[in-house]
Amino acid sequence: MLNYALKRLGLAVVIVSLAMLMLFCMIYLIPGDPASVALGPRATEAMREALRIKMGLDQPVWMQFWNFYIGAWSGDLGKEVLSSRPVLTVVLEQLPFTLALIAGGISWSVALGIPLGCWAAVKRGSLADRVVGILSVAVIAVPSFVIAIYALLIFAVALRWLPAIGAGEPGNPGDQILHLILPSLAVGLGWVGYIARMVRASMLEVLEASHIRTARAFGLPERQITYRYALSIAILPTVTLLGVGIGQMLSSAVFAEIVFARPGVGKLVYDAILTRNFPVVTGAVLVTTVLFVLLNLIADLIVGALDPRVRSSF
């Protein structure tokens, strides 16, 4: 287990390093001087030169990358252009909002997707199965920002059931959850479809297994066989799927944060682009990438911990 974890961790480090290299290349090797981009057209040559030295742009390229690389690993993602606050601090301030949003999305997708997929598998071939199948494909296909806008339109603007803007009053969990419902639905709805399909497929496979026949031969109630004996195996692959899903949910979260005017990393990057706050963009992209790789890693390890077969084969 430890060996496996270390191997996966090593791979994660390599991938993050490569991501850093690419980010660096994008910023420094694509035409356009970051200093002039940051300062805008009205800056004087002297101002630009000063900023260039401050940003280390006068050094050779490989040296710049090395500085960037070492700095990033030690948590130094540069300083925000306007307030000069460390980028890492700024990003970490916003991160909890995004994580709450993704957790909400996962809750929706698990709470709806697993029962729907299980139901479709048990009623295989029926009308219910077909309807669940078509709906799953439909919610996967429709982009999350369309869902976000329509949810805003229907539930917040037209029906006025739920709040439309912000993350809720700080220190008031009830209000915060109320503000989380619509954005997290927009983030998680597509994943209801993915999970329903995945659970259905793996349920069908598990229900054919010979240990299920054994359980039936022992006269166990069909409900217990379905939920305790089959589903507990069939949901294992969804954990890995969610690991991948979180990456896509990060993308959806950007839209949800903008549409519902919520604080969060996505909104931070978006605003940073509009204000040309360069280091914040790189920093936030890097943090989310690390987060993504890390969550994938955790998902893999959780599968290991849940499945006794995998657990001991490490």
Binding site: F145, L250, V254, V269, R276, V285, T289
Partner: protein
């Protein structure tokens, strides 16, 4: 997916037979209707409406749908029906061009990784994984920061998102074919690597890949609309479904019609292409079942 294609000759299935089977599926017929509606609207946009999608008419701001304006007008009085039709052109253009480019690049990289030396293969796989480890929107945001919003930026994002997947599929199948008898035979007869790849490997790997790529079209359309929605894609006043949706979002307390008009074509198109792809895949190639 790894063993999708394992044996020559390239799978042969009559297009006529496939089409008949597709038409037997109610969902397939529904999908064809949706896609046809979108394609028809985009091609004949100029004939279907006399309005100019970019002409501003302040006196007719926020008109609700009616006989004059089928889908109403936006905050600048532009006809939404005309904007939706012309937006379809942009969406389909981006989808077709960038998918084609992604396929071309993916095939070349995949062949190189699969047929080339081991170290190069490992390196490329690592790079593909790293590219995929960026969340799509973050990739788009980072890129647009540097090159500015444009249709080209949208296409670059699409290509970056799609290429690793295509290349991996081609690579896996190339490796599977590399050791097969007919490739070994060609090698023993002194055929060059390039010729082996072109004549023996490519025809066998390309079929399933094209199906998969066509199934990615709704994703591409979503990326274009999404980036235009964020103001990172098509520049105003050019109509795009995403920018119409953004107009609707900005004026959502004024009128719901703009947002509805922007979202509807996105829903119709993504559903149409997705259902079409799903049914096509089931009809043509059951081996691909279960992907995604």
């Amino acid at each position: 997916m790894s063993e999708a294609v394992s044996s020559p000759p390239a799978r042969q299935s009559g297009p006529g037979r496939a089409l008949r089977r597709l038409l037997r599926e109610p969902l397939g017929v529904f999908a064809i209707l949706l896609v046809a509606l979108v394609v028809f609207g985009a091609i004949f946009a100029d004939l279907l409406t006399q309005y100019d999608p970019t002409r501003i008419n302040p006196r007719e701001r926020f008109s609700p749908p009616g006989a004059d304006h089928l889908l109403g007008t936006d905050q600048l009085g532009r006809d939404l029906f005309a904007r939706v039709l012309h937006g379809g052109r942009i969406a389909l253009y981006v989808a077709l061009v960038s998918t084609a480019i992604s396929l071309a690049i993916g095939i070349v990289l995949g062949l190189i990784a699969g047929y080339g030396p081991r170290w190069l293969d490992n390196l490329m796989i690592l790079v593909f994984d790293a590219v995929k480890s960026f969340p799509t929107v973050m990739l788009a945001l980072a890129l647009v920061t540097l090159v500015g919003p444009s249709l080209t930026a949208v296409m670059v994002v699409v290509i970056l998102v799609n290429v690793p997947g295509y290349a991996r599929i081609i690579r896996t199948q190339t490796i599977a074919l590399k050791t097969s008898e007919f490739v070994t035979a060609a090698q023993s007869m002194g055929a060059s690597s390039a010729r082996i790849l072109r004549v023996h490997v490519l025809p066998n790997v390309i079929g399933p890949l094209v199906i998969l790529a066509s199934m990615d079209i709704p994703v591409v359309i979503a990326i274009e609309a999404g980036m235009s929605f964020l103001g990172l894609g098509v520049r105003p006043p050019t109509p795009s479904w995403g920018s119409i949706l953004n107009d609707g979002f900005s004026n959502i307390r004024e009128t719901a019609w703009i947002a509805v008009a922007g979202g509807l074509p996105i829903i119709v198109t993504t559903l149409g292409f997705t259902f079409l792809g799903e049914t096509l895949r089931d009809v043509l190639d059951p081996r691909l079942k279960g992907r995604g």
